[in-house]
Amino acid sequence: MAYAVVWSENGGHPRAGSLEFAKGFLRLAGRPEHELSYDDVADVRIDRRPKLRLAGRPTLVIESRGGDNLRIASFDGAGSLHELAERLEAARHSS
């Protein structure tokens, strides 16, 4: 299952595309693509503060072990951001 999302890496220009939970890593497919191993994820949280929003929406903030920051906003309807967070936590713990 893919989610329609907008994401930003380290506060850079937002990109639109899809998010998929692949085996062992998170794939953000768009232009360009981005992949993040579940093992590299250090912290996951939902942030609603205005300065961390994307497209006016709250974001899923993913901190990597290397110190990078990935913010993801979902277009897949109410509750989908929490669903993403839960699935990412589950994927991290099973990897």
Partner: protein, 545 residues
Amino acid sequence: MDSTAATGESRLRALFEAGVAVTSELSLDAVLQRLVEVAAELTGAQYVALGVIDETGSQLERFLTHGIDEETHAAIGALPRGRGVLGALIHDAKPLRLHDLSQDPRSVGFPPAHPPMRTFLGVPILLRGVAYGNLYLTEKELGEDFTGEDQELVSLLASQAAVAIENARLYEASTRWSRQLQSLNEIGNALATETDVERLLGLVVRHLRELLGARFVAVALPTGENELRFAAAAGEGADDLIGVTMPRAESKSGRVLDRRRSERVDSVIDDPEVHQDVARRLAARTGLYVPLVAHDRVIGVLEVHDKESSGGARFTDDDLRLAETFASRAAVAVDLSQRVARDALRRVVAAQELERRRLARELHDETGQALTSILLGLKPLEDSPAHEAVAELHELVVTALQDVRRLAVELRPKVLDDFGLVPALERLAESFGEQTGLKVDFHSAIGEERLPSEVETALFRVVQESLTNVVKHSHANSVSIVLTRRGDAVAVVVEDDGSGFDPTDSRDGIGLLGMRERLALLDGKLDVESTAGGGTTLVAEVPWR
């Protein structure tokens, strides 16, 4: 007078007994065998044979003899095929007496191991002009020729045989009718009580297979735009066939569906329209293909393969008519099930929209208003000693208010109900472009007129879903949305310049099935054109009124 042929009195007795046998014996074979024996007894013939042609007229259904033991029978081999003198007797249904069979110009000789035969008497088995077969005798005792009196006696026996055969066939026909009625009655009852269409179709194919004596019967229903799927099957390998799909354009069933006309195929392998992979899988030789039509709509195809009775037998016109009767019952079942499913979907969609509308209104009017009141309440506190905490609260409330309003719009934009489809799509295109960075153009060519609410909702949801798909799958830079009239329909065209996909791929990972179902509720349709790397064009069309 000859020495062993029956005397006048014993002939009368034999004829009388033969007549009694015709009226009292239930087994047709026993009656015919009795007539063969009487013919031998009355005429002094060493060999007698009686052949009954089947109802198709293509082969012998029964062949009874006198004077040929089983060993000789086996040595002779196959039954007579109606060539030579016997052929003449079949094609020109008149009595025939010969002094020497071998001297007749029509004779084709005997097969190896056949006993020599010279004198011959053959009579057709006729009733009211219908030929049921023939009765023939050879080798009258003492080498004498068969007489005119023999011919009259044998003709009388042939008439009795004809009556017996016709009675048997009438009895068989009435039994068949009774079974057909019983089957149709059972299916009719099931139609009234069974809601699972595949179980109903299973009942139809099982009964039809039994009544036709067919090796295999199946029902295929359209799935997606280009395929047919076997939904029910009866016969060898039936379980493995259910769920199998075949291309509509490259199968006999698909063609029959398009032509809306039943077809009988006597040689499946020679028919270029038959999907040979499926035919091989079924080991099919012959077939009946009957469209399922309900309310002038073709909704599936019934396939029947191979008579079980004897090798190479073909389906008859009666078989085709029976299959058409069952196809009409199957069509009712499928149509009913589709209507029930559509009604259920319509209710679900309506309930979902109602719920979304209520939630959106609650969020907008209640929660949104409450948050606005809090903002107003915070205003006087901005200059208080706790102004920093107030500022934080203010920011929190503002973002919460934004979220609530966005959520309300996503659930059900108020503008759609208040101002209609065009303003709703304008706002959707604008906000979607702002949020995703895509260039989204919207153009309407339908004027100011409002459409029925359910049409506006369906088209709005299709565009909403399409835009989400563009983000998820196409990686496009720009999207164009055009709302226009197409004849008697209103259409929305969503076109992107993204990566495209193969629209014939039957996996529905992008929600096309849901869009199709939603539009179908309004008698609308969805067309998708796409090629890898060439973008995607989606056209949703709904009748204007």
